[in-house]
Amino acid sequence: MDLRLTPDMESFRDEVRGFLVAHQDRYAPGAGADRPREAAMEWQALLIDNGYAARTIPQAYGGYGAQPDILKSRIIAEEFTAAGAPRGFANQGISMLVPTLLEVGSEEQKTRWISPTLRGETVWCQGYSEPGAGSDLANLQTKAVEDGEDFLISGQKIWTSTAAQADMIFCLVRTEPQAPKHDGISYILFPMTTPGIEVRPLKTMTGSAEFNEVFFTDVRVPQSAVVGGRGRGWFVANATLKHERGMLGDPNATEARFAALIDLMKSETVDGQRLIDNPVMADRLMALQARLMTMKFNGLRTLTASMTGESAGMAGMVVKLQGCELNHQIAALAIDALGELGVLYEDGPHLRAKGSWQRNYMFDLGLIIGGGTAQIQKNIISERGLGLPREPKLAVV
């Protein structure tokens, strides 16, 4: 246990700080899942050139080409957060497709797609979930029927964010209808401009359409667009899902939210009394602070494990379940402490933080329960983490 950094790392930190100060005027946030604007693409290019984005992607594919160094990545994250500087793009193309291509893509696929994806020139969406295939993803029904050199793809996807803005989709389709459930799926790439694709926005309880439904009718896609081998899509996608899991549970963001909650409770009053002077609310706040610390230190522990190449084991598995829940509970306390003010949601003189407490409260709940996430996460923890048996097979009735 020694949380000090080596002089090397301290000087790397200085380097990052220096860069951020020097380029303050070029800060330009990416638009989250949306298409980035030009300034953002320039900022991204600058980050890649300096190794603050696409850090470990080989130069041949448009990355910076450094060796993985988790500590340096963390220092970058910390300094960018501290400076309020926009991080490199973190869209699904970069966080899910690129690692997949690097792992199982053909040389041509890597050369063609990785660089423009990193630079924000090509925007991707993900076509996994279907109305009948959520937690049971292997049950997907979107079919790809051979037609000469091509497939003709028909079916429906759901929970596809960015579908309206995306150039391309990475998509799971059933190419071998006769094969066992997990063996008949292929992972395939195609343009969202291909004829036969219809995108319908899917509005959620937050009032925004964070997702879409995507309908395919005889969408013609060359067979060569399959990644990782025909019929191997289930295994390719599972590798990708691992990357997605790593995306969630960022303690920095949770810490920032908690700090905002403290500010709120110190500055807002009811009948002239500060909210934090309500002992019941203060008690809840402290219980959440303990959870926040727990999550933060658990993050340092899993970071250390990654650095030494060990598996983080159970400490890693529980992050998602605990992290989303903590975010949700922070929002819940803010709403409760604000009382009637806490239910406001549209612009007006009394709205707090642009309604983000309520929005987070609902959105985080979606993350916790979307597609039975919490249930499935508990299955994973009990089976892989604790070695309890899988659900027994059912009798055929």
Binding site: M205, G272, G372
Partner: protein
């Protein structure tokens, strides 16, 4: 000893639910929610035909002369339907007039309220739930000044009952000079609230002080608890129905023990609440000594139970639970607003301890 609803009460509740199924279908609610200029006049008209505006107004003034328990049963049906109806004022304003109005005030307003010709709203948030964001109304020389926030149905009401910072009640006509109203939009788009600004607005005093305010508060708590009860019922029904129909891994998800237990936990939490709400409604008229405490507990407890049910029902629905398509969120947000109106559960529990003399 009969702890049950009468046949009349059941029938009237079912009848209101049928009326609402027609006049305030989910499609109609959706339209209301999406259009801030929609005042829901058609819904109000249907409810006026039903007699709802006169529910607690005595027959001599053209009302139905029923009890708060009856009103709570109506509130439950409105919650079930997530009906876009400002019901709180419909019950609390006549109560205020009955308890603290002069004969003249009563005969001027009650018949019009009973017929649905005018609507009323009650501005007691600051006095009950505490003043936030600089709100509060002071009375001086028959004039009111200041701000009252979170007034359900306050945007269009013709009659306003307003509590001042001392807890005294005042009657204000909707068209009074110096009164301005702004919409306050919350998560629950089925019930809009108003911010009222008073700039030396003429008001008539009502007699009676904090005791009358306490009665209004208690009645408000019961109505909110009942509305939440109705909304929770629907959230459980929807979860169970979805669990019976939705298949994953080759089985309906309702056959998975984890899902079954979530449903069972919801039902086990909610079912006993029904009796609490009934009793809170009954006690308001039949056992006034117990009324405040049981109203407080009904309000606070239903708030907690409904948060659990809103979350758990969403969880059973998986991703579909958070879509606008399914519309579960209308109930989710309905109970979210009910939780905070007239005080969140922590505040209400603190009051419950005080009113028993347990704490200072």
């Amino acid at each position: 000893m009969d702890f049950s609803l009468t046949e009349d009460q059941r029938m009237m509740q079912e009848s209101l639910s049928r009326t609402l199924a027609e006049a305030a279908s989910l499609d109609r609610v959706r339209k209301f929610a999406g259009d801030p200029t929609d005042r829901g006049a058609d819904v109000w008209a249907a409810l006026t035909d039903f007699g709802l505006p006169g529910i607690v107004i005595s027959e001599e003034y053209g009302g139905l002369g029923l009890t708060l328990l009856d009103a709570a049963l109506m509130s439950e049906a409105l919650g079930r339907a997530v009906a876009p109806v400002p019901f709180m004022g419909t019950v609390l304003a006549p109560l205020a007039l009955r308890l603290a109005g002069s004969a003249e005030q009563q005969s001027k307003w009650l018949p019009k309220l009973a017929s649905g010709e005018v609507t009323a709203a009650v501005a007691i948030s600051e006095a009950v739930a505490g003043a936030r964001d600089g709100a509060g109304v002071t009375a001086s020389g028959g004039k009111l000044s200041g701000k009252a926030l979170f007034v359900p149905g306050g945007l269009g009401a013709d009659l306003l009952i307003v509590a001042d910072t001392g807890g005294a009640l005042h009657l204000v006509e909707g068209g009074a000079a110096g009164l301005t109203r702004e919409i306050m939009t919350g998560i629950d788009l089925t019930r809009r609230m108003a911010e009222l600004t008073f700039d030396k607005v003429a008001a008539e005093p009502l007699t009676g002080g904090k005791d009358v305010l306490a009665r209004l508060r208690d009645a408000g708590w019961v109505l909110l608890a009942a509305d939440t009860l109705g909304a929770c019922d629907v959230m459980i029904e929807k979860a169970v129905a979805y669990a019976k129909e939705r298949k994953q891994f080759g089985r309906v998800i309702g056959s998975f023990q984890a899902v079954k237990h979530l449903c069972a936990e919801m039902a086990a939490e909610l079912e006993p609440c029904r009796s609490l709400v009934w009793y809170a409604g009954y006690a308001f008229d039949a056992a006034p000594d117990e009324s405040s405490l049981v109203a407080a507990h009904a309000k606070a407890h239903l708030s907690e139970v409904s948060r659990f049910i809103a979350r758990t029902s969403t969880e059973v629905h998986g991703g579909m639970g958070i879509t606008d398509l399914l519309g579960l969120h209308f109930w989710f947000k309905r109970v979210g607003l009910n939780r905070q109106l007239l005080g969140g559960p922590e505040r209400v529990r603190a009051l419950a301890a005080q009113m028993q003399g347990l704490t200072a």
